[in-house]
Subunit: 316 residues, 2 copies
């Protein structure tokens, strides 16, 4: 499939994944609204399976396989939430999963992947080693590659989070803010807003220390990320080509926040909402608080992308 | 009023407070159920106003005042959640609140009390200074004393959390577990179970380092707590007389957990459920995990009492 997801594609993806994922709640906080001078609706994907929206895309990709592909299983490389998402989806469907993870991945994430019954292959912690190891696994097993974001099945799946947010809020949102790393969530969100809430502006939120999407959006040319430096570990990756094509067309802007602002926003959500969110998930609130005048008096949806964080080592 | 709360008293309290408090959600975690080998329903009072169930009792007490009492306002001493609960309730009702707080109270809690417009009176951090200062305030202002637990209006209010839990779960619970400090929550819970889920056993959960309720329950005699030593800061207080009378009649048992077990249970909830709970709120899960054989295969309600914790200083 090589055409951008249609409304029907996303609807079908939603029906496909719904039996296997959580329809996560939307929360608001009076005290954060007061500080932000806006009405914010947080879509809590930290409560999603595997603790992140990645479960949506992983599930949709696995459920979209042909019978022949299912027999040979799936493969991917990831140090984080996508690895768990693909492993869980494969386990639920009873098909093999080969997950290449850099040897410096968090132990708890490697254990989770093994816990889902996946075949975990460790490699050196370089992009080259990851890609070579994955290629070797695929040529040996014939497994289907599931890329974490440069794949329309993934984008369709991630789009379902914003679709649910729009359904849940029941009144027109002025903005939806999401983090942007590889671009799967942002591009999917912008499609869902385009199809079901056309007057809503979608804004990507990125750390200053990994600002390739910002620079790509400004210059209309894909700029890869070199040496990212940010506490938002889920957003260090480079923007993908397929997401970028959609983002150029349907996203209004990409705005930045620095690590201090991200840590402060994360702490604010922990203290005031009593929910655990990871640094990447705090970037949209950090962007909103940095640009208060832009969002003043507006209704703003924020996708809390995940809650996987080492609680023994916090940035505050 | 000096008779134990009836079912009608608790129903009326629930109607009285409902416009001002959150009907908090009940969450489950597949992975914690698997570890515990039980089906656990967590009633999330960490999402309650002021971040704790204390909002229920404080609100009910303030709403139960006569017109004459309202004019003179309310007074209490507390270093924690009860102070905020009474201050918020008084603010919502537009009546004066005088809150005596020990000078070593958490700054953030003192700010919250001031933020609710209460008259905050600092005193030396001893029980004697707290009681003397409060007595002075009451004799000067004529304000009504709202004790944090030794008061039937408070017990009625706290009882509404278990009433909602029983309503939400929709199938008979084998057990309900709550922390026990002064006994307001435990006694109220045991009454709600008695009235609306008679076959449910209610168990109080207490830190080993503040085991006065355990010892009182064993000996059927109120034993005050001297020099409590536990990370569960909300449970260092001594059991009250009125709660104890109810607990003796309606509570099945009181079980203990140590601080290591409490910290581990707290971390488990943070990591697996992505919600912030305070150490006191983790005591029931710690007790359950220490006594797995007792709860194996059972349906267990746990009241997550609160989520007010200094996230910059964690016990793990």
């Amino acid at each position: 499939m090589n055409i951008k997801p249609t409304a029907q594609d996303i609807e079908e993806a939603h029906e496909r994944v719904s039996p296997y994922i959580h329809y996560t709640p939307v929360y608001s906080s009076e005290s954060i609204n007061k500080i932000a001078r806006a009405e914010i609706f947080f879509k809590c994907e930290n409560f999603q399976k595997v603790g992140a929206f990645k479960a949506r895309g992983g599930m949709n990709a696995v459920l979209s396989l042909s019978d022949e592909e299912r027999q040979k299983g799936v493969a991917t490389h990831s140090s984080g939430n996508h690895a768990q998402a693909v492993a869980l989806a494969a386990q639920l469907q009873g098909i093999p999963a080969h997950i290449v993870m850099p040897s410096n991945s968090a132990k708890v994430k490697m254990e989770a992947v093994r816990g889902y019954g996946a075949n975990l292959i460790e490699c050196e912690p370089t992009l080259q080693a990851r890609e070579e190891t994955l290629q070797k696994v695929i040529s040996e097993t014939g497994a289907s590659m599931i890329h974490p974001y440069n794949d329309y099945r993934i984008i369709q799946g991630q789009a379902t989070a914003a679709k649910e947010l729009i359904e849940s809020v029941n009144e027109p949102l002025d903005y939806i803010l999401t983090p942007v790393g590889g671009g799967g969530l942002l591009s999917g969100t912008s499609l869902s807003a385009h199809y079901w809430s056309n007057r809503t502006q979608v804004i990507g939120c990125e750390p200053e220390g990994a600002d390739d999407a910002f620079r790509s959006f400004q210059t209309k040319t894909l700029v890869p990320m070199v040496n990212p430096d940010t506490i938002a570990d889920g957003l260090r990756t480079s923007l993908g080509e397929k997401p970028f094509d959609i983002i150029k067309e349907h996203v209004s802007d990409i705005l930045l926040a620095n690590d201090n602002e991200i840590a402060a926003a994360m702490k604010m959500v922990w203290e005031r909402m009593k929910i655990i969110i990871e640094p990447s998930a705090a970037v949209p609130l950090a962007v909103l608080l940095r640009n208060k005048e832009l969002f003043e008096g507006k209704k703003v949806g924020i996708i809390i992308s995940g809650g996987n964080v080492d609680v023994g080592s916090l940035p505050f």
